[in-house]
């Protein structure tokens, strides 16, 4: 596709998509969203720029290859198991810590977030892997 409008709009749309990907990721524990949807949004940002420009330069510019995303996602998933095992709780039971943030109040962080980040990265990786495989014309 070679559309000037799409090419000019892409940087803005891309930033918005990535921003909302993180919003979806972070609010996902108790609200609609989460790692899977966040990951799809983030992958969509890259798919979008490959539509606007060409697939090849976008693929080359990626600092982390799709396989790398999947691997990092899997490592995060593994990390999310470890707090519950270290505290000898039931497997994958949530471990929560409260971090005081001064005037901002308190931040409640738990091991489910690690799981969500793992899913987030794995979904980005797998989606890009599919996309680049299917658009690869030899």
């Amino acid at each position: 596709m070679n559309s000037v409008i799409l090419q000019l709009a892409t940087p803005y749309v891309r930033s918005l998509l990535i921003f909302f990907a993180f919003v979806a990721l972070l609010r996902g524990h108790n609200n609609p969203g989460g790692g899977f949807i966040g990951g799809l949004l983030a992958a969509l940002a890259i798919v979008f720029s490959s539509f606007a420009f060409d697939r090849r330069p976008v693929q080359r510019k990626l600092k982390i290859k799709p396989g790398g995303y999947v691997a990092m996602g899997l490592v995060f998933l593994l990390l999310s198991f470890s707090p519950s095992l270290l505290k000898s709780q039931m497997l994958m039971e949530g471990v929560w810590v409260t971090i005081p943030m001064g005037i901002l109040g308190e931040l409640n962080v738990g091991s489910p977030l690690l799981f969500d980040i793992g899913v987030f990265m794995a979904v980005i990786g797998v989606t890009l892997m599919f996309f680049f495989t299917l658009t690869n014309r030899k």
Partner: protein, 502 residues
């Protein structure tokens, strides 16, 4: 019982190992060792189930109807053992056959991702979790199909993906309806609610959706088209793996759902299953006898055999369900084995096309013996496993006066025998055609030699088939226990929901 999660967690750890490993030789060794450990894990679970009955694990510490429960009962543990047995054989096979331009590490990553999905589907006690495992299976099997990057594989892969995605979508829709009606997704809790509920209208719509979804996965008539369209394209190692596992996950899900909670309009649904079973058998068998590519014959033949399993479920007596489970085990082992042999024939002759093959009985007598075992087992010759599987099913059918389906099954057994004899005559007995070009005008490749490592997996599976036949009595006792649990799921429900039985 954290051991219940091991069949899922262990393949997951292996995937991480394969991401790190660079050398393909190391990957092959880890693959064999890993699947051997998986076999050990499932045997350990088998011992535990034998001692303590149904094992459960509430993941994340959320109690039963709220969180995701992993449940290992008799049927699950049987499926886990057979799965890891096949996976063990195929991991050895991959050393000899997953060579060339294939990316070894990528293959192993998705190989074990597939195993993780299959094991997850067999152990989960939650309907939505089952959907997630189906997706894991679907994604990893798609990658495995297209791993060789050829145009043919991409075409097969897309057909496979498209038809299975429709199945997943219907699954999700049915799941949503079920959740809307009952407010729960835990299988035991669903069973508890639906066994006392009067609202059969909404349940029936959701049953229909689930039936089509699992029917697509299990490749029953008339939803099987994805299977022959895709199974002949990937590397034969991948096809053998699919033949052993994929459709059986669908059959397992059908068995679980139609015994546990879709019992509102049971007479109607069992009749539907019965008709579907009959058509699946005959259509699969007839299509198999029309083809000359070994992989296509065997692919259609998978479909025909699925019919027998559905037949056992549809007759719905303890004996028939036991027969269906026995048939499933026997079929998983023998069917995978025939695909392994097809791969070896291809390696010796450079083609899968029967017309261009011949004289194998002189060229490799060992291969002929190895082919005879699963072929006779599939045809139902005593004392191999297939004889007992079919005998139990026919007996159950005759006892419950389902004479028509038994007649169809006997007729299909003839078709099976015909297909196996065709492969035997064309590939083994006939003189080898002395020509350089195949009937399709392709230059025949220079034949390779087979070494022991190529034969070993087929020997292992062949011994499995013989074992199933010789020790049919003890195997049957455990299976009968599983069938009783399915027919009368009181214990399952009570164990999962932690209800004290007085």
């Amino acid at each position: 019982m954290a051991t219940v999660a091991l069949p899922i967690l262990f393949p997951f750890l292996l995937i991480l190992v394969f991401v790190v490993i660079k050398s393909s030789r190391a990957a092959q060794i880890v693959g064999v060792l890993g699947s051997a450990s998986l076999l050990a894990i499932s045997l350990f679970l088998f011992i535990q189930v034998n001692e303590q009955g149904i094992l459960t694990l509430n993941v994340g510490g959320w109690e039963a109807p709220m969180g995701i429960t992993l449940v290992v009962d008799h049927l699950s543990v049987i499926m886990l053992i057979v799965t890891s047995f096949i996976v063990f054989a195929i991991s050895i096979y991959a050393i000899g056959f997953m060579v060339g331009n294939h990316k070894t590490n990528k293959f192993y990553i998705f190989f074990f991702a597939l195993i993780m999905g299959v094991n997850g589907a067999f152990t989960t006690g939650d309907v939505f979790n089952l959907y997630v495992w189906f997706e894991v299976i679907l994604i990893s099997s798609f990658v495995l199909i297209v791993i060789g990057d050829s145009k043919e594989q991409l075409e097969g892969g897309i057909k496979y993906m498209a038809l299975n995605l429709i199945g997943s979508l219907l699954f999700l829709a049915g799941l949503g309806l079920l959740y809307g009606e009952t407010g729960t997704l835990n299988m035991a809790h669903l069973a508890q609610i639906l066994r006392t509920s009067e609202h059969s209208l909404l349940i029936n719509s959701s049953t229909t959706l689930f039936f089509i979804a699992f029917g697509i996965k299990a490749a029953v008539f008339p939803l099987f088209f994805w299977l022959p369209a895709s199974y002949h394209t990937p590397n034969i190692t991948v096809t053998a793996l699919f033949a052993g596992l994929l459709t059986k996950v669908g059959v397992y899900a059908l068995m679980r759902f139609f015994t546990l909670f879709f019992i509102q309009d049971q007479v109607f649904w069992l009749n539907v299953l019965l008709v579907v079973a009959g058509f699946t058998m005959v259509v699969g068998g007839m299509a198999a006898s029309a083809h000359y590519d070994i992989r296509r014959i065997l692919s259609y033949h998978i479909i025909s055999q699925i019919g027998y399993m559905i037949m056992g479920l549809a007759i719905f007596t303890p004996l028939a369900i036991a027969g269906a489970i026995f048939f499933m085990i026997h079929n998983m082992v023998a069917k995978t084995n025939t695909f392994l042999i097809a791969g070896m024939i291809n390696k010796l002759k450079g083609t899968f096309y029967l017309k261009d093959i011949g004289g194998l009985i002189k060229q490799s007598p060992l291969l002929a013996v190895l082919f005879i075992i699963p072929a006779f087992a599939l045809a139902g010759v005593p004392p191999l496993s297939g004889f007992f599987a079919k005998f139990i099913l026919f007996k159950a059918g005759a006892e419950s006066e389902h004479y028509a389906i038994v007649a169809v099954a006997v007729f299909t057994a003839m078709l099976t025998l015909y297909s196996m004899v065709k492969i035997w005559n064309e590939a083994f007995l006939k003189e080898s055609p002395t020509k350089e070009f195949s009937a399709k005008g392709v230059l025949l490749k220079i034949p390779n030699k087979l070494s022991f490592i190529h034969f070993l997996p087929s020997i292992i599976l062949g011994l499995g088939t013989v074992f199933l036949g010789l020790f049919a009595q003890s195997v049957y006792q455990f299976i009968a226990e599983a069938a009783n649990q399915l027919i009368d799921p009181e214990i399952y429900i009570n164990t999962v929901l932690n209800i004290n039985m007085q």
